[in-house]
Each structure stands twice: as C-alpha cells, then as structure tokens.
C-alpha cells in the first residue's frame, strides 16, 4: 500500500513539475546554442518595474486589508458585519476587469487614457483587488488574540496605541506578512492588468519574447526566473505561516470582546476599509450595469452565452478533478504515509507558484510533440496543476480540524478504514468539499494567461472574450462579459462565505 501511495504521489509531482523542467530545458538549450541571451539591461528593466509594482501593490493591500481587519476584529460599530462581508468581495473580481472598467469610465469623463496607464494607478488597482489576501489572515490573527492578554496590558497602564504597537501588531505581524506574500505572488502572476496598463513586468516580458520576437529561449528563461521568484515567495509564506502556528499553539486563546466604537469615530476607518470593495466591486458593477442597460441591445447578451457556458463547463470539470485530487490527498494523509511522501506532496503544491503564463508556456513546449497544444486536455491540465493547491490545502485543513478521536471511535464501533472515510470523514468534509469546488471555480473563471496560451481555436471563455475586446480598445463592449464574470464570481464568493470558507462570519467563528 505504501509503495502504491509513493508511486501515485511521485507520478503526480512529476506531472506538476514537468512544465517547469520543459521550460528549463528549453532555456538552457537556447543559452548553450547562444540563440537567447538575457541582457542585463533587459533584466534590470523588467526586474525594477516588477519590484516597484510589487512594493506598491503589496503595501497598499496591507494598508487596506489590515485596517479593515483590525477595525472588524477589535471594535464593534454599526455596519461591522457589512464591512467584514465587503472586505472579501474583491476576491470575486479579477484585477484586469477593474482596470478596464475604470479606464473606460474615466476616459468617457474626459480624462486622457494615456495619463491613466501608469505604475501608481496599476499599484492601486492591485492593492484594492488583493486586499482580501491580507484581510483574511489578519482578521483571523486579530480575532484570536487573547482578551486577558490585552486586558493585562491595559491594567499595566498601556494606552490603546501602545497596546497595538507592543502586543497586537507583533502578534498579528506574521499573518499580515503571509497575506502580503500571497498578494505579491498574484501581482507577479498577473498578465491582463499589466498588459492593459502598459507596464513592463516579467509577465509581459515573457509574452513579448515569445509572441512578439518569437524568441522561445528568452521567454523560457524569463519564465523560469519568474517561477523561481514565485516559488521562493511561496516557500517563505509557508514558513512564516508554520512558525506563526507554532507560536500560537502553545497558548490558550480566548476570544476577546469587541470594544464599542461610536459611529463618528469609526468613520475614518470605515472609509479606508470600504475603498477596496467600492473601487473593485460596487462601482465597477454599477458602471457595467449602466453600460449594458444604456445600450439596450439584446444581441449583446447572446454573444456572452457561449463563452459563459464554456467557462462554466471548464471551471466545473477542472474543479471536480481538483476536489477529487484533494480527497485523494486526505486519504493519503490518513494512512500516515511517512516523511518522504509528505515532502513529495509539498513539492507538488508548488503548482500554485507557477504563474498562469509560465505554466502555459511550459505546457506548450511539453504538449507540442503530442499535438495537444490548443486542446481542452491541455487547458484542463493547466487548471488542475495551477489550482490543485486550493483543493488540497482547503481539504487538508478541514481534515486536520476533525478530531482524531472520531476516527478511533468509528473503528472501535467496527468500521474499516474505508468505512471511517465514508461514514465519518467524508460527511464532515462536506462543506469544505463545496468550498474547495467553489474557490477553484472562481479562480478558473478569472484565469487569463494560461487560457490564452492553451485554448483550442475558436474557444472563448468570458475572460478571453473580455481581454480580446479590451485589447482592441472596444472597452464599452466588454460590459456584458465582465458583468457575467462578476455575477458568477460574486455568487461563488457569497456561497463560499455562507459555507464558512473564509472564517469571517459569526457562525464560522463560533466554530459551528
């Protein structure tokens, strides 16, 4: 059984890492044959812009995410639950869509388009769209701070600001940091936004090298560098999170009571906390709705039906595969497979560190000999590799939360291993299975670069349709497909939140 598990995991990891090796091989061969070079000028241009974009976007996301998290976790005020809910909404809107909508809207108001496409504005778009990545872990960290710890500090004469500086911030810092790293990975992986905003990053460099100059070698080398940066960030994030959980595990946590905050005093915080939701979701949705209704052309919806169905179909099938993989991993963890298998599985999780574009290129190289580029199979494979971590981490976390004593009790009552899985583990994982499915679906609906590279001819998803229209500067025509994407993703976020996926509702926080 153990050997079978090892072979299964090994095969899985090999499939997940194959695109990286394909890129590495392509890049090294090009370097050896001197077909491709990476000039220091090119590297510093892409590197510096990417770094500035990363710094600006992550700082903004940390500012927005932490403010909302601190406000909601530590204070009670009118509208707190609404803010909690609004703070996760940006998860359902891709950043490129926010950029298209705002640029289109502001150009209509007479602002020159060229002045809008710059680095600070791009950082702002990322900051609002990625703020939930910081909000969720920070909210969890601030909420878990022991009430007696804070009261002790108060009794020792510390002011509210000192309590924040000396206790709350240091104890929640690791969570904020981990959230910031994840946001950074998303910035590096993005293509749609930076391409539209005319910012030269690693991502755009890869595409330009491959499609613009036909330089596969240089594109591969840039992709490998991008993967290494993302992989390092993911490794860093995992370590920060692990250390943080160790620091927490030794302490008994009592949920503190929230301090009442008068409405007037809460206004400045409210303003900062509301910016991400308003800028990334509420206003874009209103602008797009207004666009659709002002056009009053029934044909505009007809053109969206086919991409919507394609998107739903691909997202559903891929998510089912991702969830099945996640359940297989839970079965493997339950069998206590040993350090080797665990380490292999951790390497497999690196799929999340593969930006869509990098993965797409890797698969293009890998699948070309089998004539599978531009196939549904290639696309499904890309989605599964890229998003498998969502399924496995969601289900693994949920499984770890099931007390081991349930398994033992079921065995004592006569259940075999399969019986325990079927009658205890699986029913207790129901909500998490639904969450893993929905979260994967949301990410696939938003996914753009890998889909662009690997889709079959005449195969259009909502993201592709929106991107193509935006690339042709037909921004006003993107409204129906953009609105359909927002509707799909928002529904997903809403249902996942109700199922407790984000841990921000009162119900999920009370542990029910």
């Amino acid at each position: 059984m153990k050997i079978f598990l090892q072979i299964f995991i090994f095969a899985l990891v090999a499939v997940f890492l194959a695109p990286v090796f394909a890129l590495l091989n392509e890049g090294v061969q090009s370097l050896v044959s001197e077909k491709a070079t990476l000039s220091s000028d090119l590297l510093s241009r892409y590197g510096l812009t990417s770094l500035l974009l990363l710094a600006g976007s992550v700082s903004g996301a940390v500012l927005f995410g932490t403010s909302a998290a601190y406000l909601c976790a530590r204070f009670d005020f009118r509208g707190r639950r609404l803010i909690q809910w609004l703070s996760i909404l940006p998860l359902g809107v891709p950043s490129y869509l926010v950029a298209y909508t705002w640029v289109d809207f502001l150009v209509d108001q007479g602002v020159p388009g060229g002045s809008l496409r710059n680095l600070p504005n791009t950082c702002f778009v990322f900051a609002v769209c990625l703020s939930p990545y910081v909000f969720l872990p920070s909210f969890s960290a601030f909420s878990a701070l022991s009430g007696s710890l804070l009261e002790s500090a108060k009794l020792l004469g510390k002011s509210q600001f000192e309590i924040f500086r000396l206790i709350e911030f240091p104890l929640a810092r690791a969570s904020m940091f981990a959230g910031g790293i994840l946001a950074g990975m998303e910035v590096l992986a993005d293509f749609g936004t930076v391409d539209f905003m005319a910012i030269d990053t690693w991502s755009t460099g890869i595409y330009r090298s491959w499609f613009g100059y036909g330089d596969r070698g240089r594109a591969s080398l840039l992709a490998v560098i991008l993967f290494l940066i993302s992989g390092t960030l993911l490794f860093w994030e995992t370590n920060v999170r692990a250390k943080n959980s160790l620091a927490r595990s030794g302490r008994s946590v009592s949920f503190h009571t929230r301090k009442k905050l008068p409405f007037i005093k809460s206004l400045p915080f409210l303003f900062v906390a509301l910016i991400p939701a308003l800028v990334s979701c509420v206003f874009p949705a209103l602008i797009l709705t207004q666009r659709v209704y002002s056009k009053s052309d029934p044909e505009q919806w007809a053109s969206v039906v086919s991409p919507a169905l394609t998107t739903l179909g691909m997202a559903s099938v891929s998510s089912v595969i991702v969830v099945v993989l996640g359940l297989a991993m839970v079965l493997i963890w339950r069998s206590n497979p040993g350090k080797f298998v665990r380490s292999l599985a951790r390497i497999g999780a690196l799929g999340y560190a593969l930006p869509g574009g990098v993965l797409g290129l890797g698969l293009l190289i890998l699948l070309a000999p089998f004539s599978l580029t531009g196939s549904v199979f290639g696309l499904l494979l890309a989605y599964c590799i890229r998003f498998a971590t969502i399924g496995t981490s969601t289900l693994e976390a949920a499984w770890l939360a099931i007390p081991r004593v349930y398994d033992e009790q079921a065995r004592l009552l006569g259940c075999t291993s399969w019986g325990v899985f079927n009658r205890v583990t699986l029913p207790l994982l129901q909500n998490s299975i639904a969450c893993a499915f929905i979260l994967t679906c949301i990410d696939i609906v938003k996914e753009l670069p890998a889909t662009m590279l690997l889709r079959p001819f005449n195969f259009e998803t909502l993201a592709i349709r929106t991107y193509n229209l935006a690339s042709d500067e037909r921004l006003s025509e993107t409204a129906p497909s953009s609105l359909a994407m927002i509707a799909l993703c928002m529904t997903g976020v809403f249902v996942a939140e109700k199922l407790g996926a984000f841990g921000v509702s009162e119900r999920s926080r009370s542990g029910k």
Binding site: Y406, E408, Q409, R411, L412, L413, G414, G419, R423, L428
Partner: protein, 231 residues
C-alpha cells in the same frame, strides 16, 4: 462471576511511545466477565495509553493481551480495533456531530451488520439512559450530560465484551456524574460486560469498581483494603 475465561487478560505487556520511555512496563491484569475495575493514577502516567492498548489503537512492544481467551495483541500479533468488540467512551465523548442521537447510537450496529435489531436496540438504550425524545436531535443541541449519555449508549449498543471508560465522567458536575455512573453500571450489569474505568478521582473509582488499581511506574498495584486504597 465466572473467572475461568477472563474477559480481559494482559500478560507482561510493555508499551512506549517513540522517543520516550516505557509507559507500560510489564503490566499484567485479569478482568472477569461482568467485572468492573478502576485504575487510579496521576495525570500523564499512561492510564489512557493502557486503554488505547487494550482497544487496539496502539501496538504493544511485548507481552500478550487476550480478550475472552483470544490472543489479540502480542509482539507480532495485532488484531485491529474494529475486530476486537471493545467499546470505549472517551474523555470528550466524541459524539459524531453530523449524525442525530439515534444515528450515533445505531452507528456500531450498522458497522457490525446488525441492522435488523437496530430500532429495538436503540430504543432500549434510549430508555436506559433517559434519552427518549432526543432521538432525532443533533448533538450540538444537547447538554454535556446528554452528550455523555449518548456516548455511553453508543459504546454499549453493539454489546461489546469490554467497555473502556477514559475519564468519561470527569467533566460533569458531581450530581450528574453520579447519576450517569449509576446508569452505566446498570447497563453493564444487564449486558454482563467487563469494564475498565480510568480516573483520577478516588471516590469515583471506589463507587464504580469491584476492584481498584493504582498505576505507578508502568505497572498496576491492586488496592485490596480500604487502608491500602487510602495510601
């Protein structure tokens, strides 16, 4: 009380967790049919490990364990927990949160293919543990005492040969603890099942058991008289 074939027999059992010393250091114990024994000892001394070894949740290092004369554990023998016909009530009861009270109690009957007697047996246990009217309730709507009774009824439902109780009453208030303990003793007498209670409360041990043991340095010492017990 028949002592010819003990319900539980342990011979020189040793057991230890990895990277730590021996928790059970050559432990021997006989428990007759329908006999109730209690094991007292300080926290962390290995009382729960003893129950886990008997239940088949841990493998022993050496020695032998027999249940009704059948060898279930030895150095190279390990009969899994699901094959042992041993019931256990854990300290935190472990009532399955996704199942109703009825389904929790019927859980072991279904695993052991006793569906035909399910309804009648569950009804009987609901009455014995004063849980009538709660059959369709979800565990998250029950009080601690009710959860405790569900856990006991569930462990007894498949008619185990031995019932293991791991500090099972310790988190209840004194009055409720006494009442549930009496219900368990009554049910054990009806089923003629042997039982092993692990506790740190001497009064509880005395009230529950026919014989009381102290666990010290990985072995059991029987307290034969009240004076010994006090010591």
């Amino acid at each position: 009380m028949t002592k010819n074939i003990p319900s539980l027999e342990m011979k020189n059992v040793t057991f230890g967790y990895r990277n730590s010393g021996l928790t059970l250091a050559g432990m021997s114990l006989d428990v007759g049919e329908g006999e109730r024994i209690a094991i007292l000892g300080e926290s962390g001394i290995g009382k729960s490990s003893l129950l886990r070894v008997i239940a088949g949740l841990e493998r022993i290092t050496s020695g032998q364990i027999f249940i009704h004369g059948r060898l279930v554990s030895a150095e190279n023998v390990h009969c899994s927990a699901e094959e042992r016909k041993v019931g256990m009530v854990f300290q935190d009861w472990a009532v399955f949160p996704h199942l109703s009270v009825f389904e929790n109690i019927a859980f072991g009957l279904r695993s052991r293919g006793k569906q035909n007697e399910e309804r009648e047996r569950v009804k009987q246990l609901l009455e014995e543990f004063e849980l009538e009217g709660l059959a369709s309730r979800s565990p998250d709507t029950l009080s601690g005492g009710q959860l405790q009774r569900v856990a006991c009824a569930r462990a007894l439902a498949p008619r185990p040969e031995i019932l293991l109780l791991d500090e099972a009453f310790s988190s209840l208030d004194v009055g409720l603890r006494k009442r549930i303990r009496e219900q368990v003793i009554k049910a054990l007498k009806i089923e003629r099942a042997a039982s092993v209670l692990v506790t740190h409360d001497p009064a509880e041990a005395l009230e529950f058991a026919d014989r009381v043991f102290h666990m010290r340095d990985g072995i059991l010492l029987e307290a034969k008289t009240h004076n010994e017990f006090r010591q």
